[in-house]
Subunit: 176 residues, 2 copies
């Protein structure tokens, strides 16, 4: 069932105004990601289109891993602690190693990890405010980035891979 | 050259606070889209990976077309007027017709149209405010959506296709 307010970028109770808008966007993005994968079986999640392709499963784990890495760099959490830490660390880099190691899981495995990572983010966001969101550090190319940009990047990277997941899903389903 | 403030989601002079943040995100997204395509030749822009694939050129035209369509529905503009209108209308729907009709162009053709559409959006945004951004109408599935969501959708759809463009770019370059 679709969550209420899925199509509103607005205040969310429990968050400051700008964080509420950021969370609105993250919620929509995640909903659409999950909608693409929730009915896939192990073979489809492991489908490799060609020698350079990542599987949908590896892309899902990568999405969780990117979020965990920004938990470390912006929220002071150890995003890679606990039982999923090895898989998350591997999936931070897509490519050969992820192709070899991230496979054989049903969709529930990925959904559980995505949810576990996300719930920590939201818990932390609830104790931050818009001043924190505006806070800048030196970032890529030694340019300034604020926390809003860094968390925008977390969801824009997810959207980038959701586009690939949609493309791969169509081809994976054709394989049966 | 990278624009200043590429990694800041923040106020932008000439726009109200929330519109400034929206434009910050749209600017970053567009910069990354153009970065993937600016060096491609006609053959690479027309590359079709398989019978169901869209070319990078068609995806670029689709990105402009989606923006034009939200200019109509939210800004009261006729986004499909002028010399590019036929191509934009075709590219609103990806698939067989876009594959057949959108091809043979150098990258400058797509960049010009993307820029022409975008400049109209930004001009209109400058005369709107955050109250407008919050304005709701009935939308998909008869749910409420505000203008912030609709324009978030414009750039999240672009990101989705940027992910596909990145994937296709790699394969198109391998074809020479």
């Amino acid at each position: 069932m679709k969550p209420a307010n899925l199509y509103l970028i607005t205040d969310i109770s429990g968050y400051t105004p700008q964080i509420g808008r950021l969370v609105s966007m993250m919620n929509y993005v995640r909903w659409t990601t999950l909608d693409e994968v929730k009915d896939l079986n192990v073979k489809q999640l492991d489908y490799l289109h060609d020698a350079d392709s990542n599987s949908i499963g590896a892309l899902l784990m990568h999405i969780a891993a990117v979020e965990a890495s920004y938990q470390e760099s912006t929220l002071g959490l150890d995003g890679f602690r606990g039982r999923d830490s090895e898989e998350l660390r591997i999936a931070l880099d897509l490519g050969e190693r992820s192709r070899r190691k991230i496979k054989g899981h049903g969709v529930d495995h990925y959904l559980r990890i995505l949810q576990a990572v996300r719930s920590k983010t939201l818990e932390e966001f609830a104790s931050r405010d818009d001043t924190w969101l505006d806070k800048q550090t030196s970032f890529w190319d030694r340019r300034r980035a604020n926390n809003y940009f860094k968390w925008f990047h977390v969801f824009e990277d997810e959207l980038n891979h959701r586009g690939q997941i949609r493309w791969l899903r169509k081809r994976a389903l054709e394989q049966g």
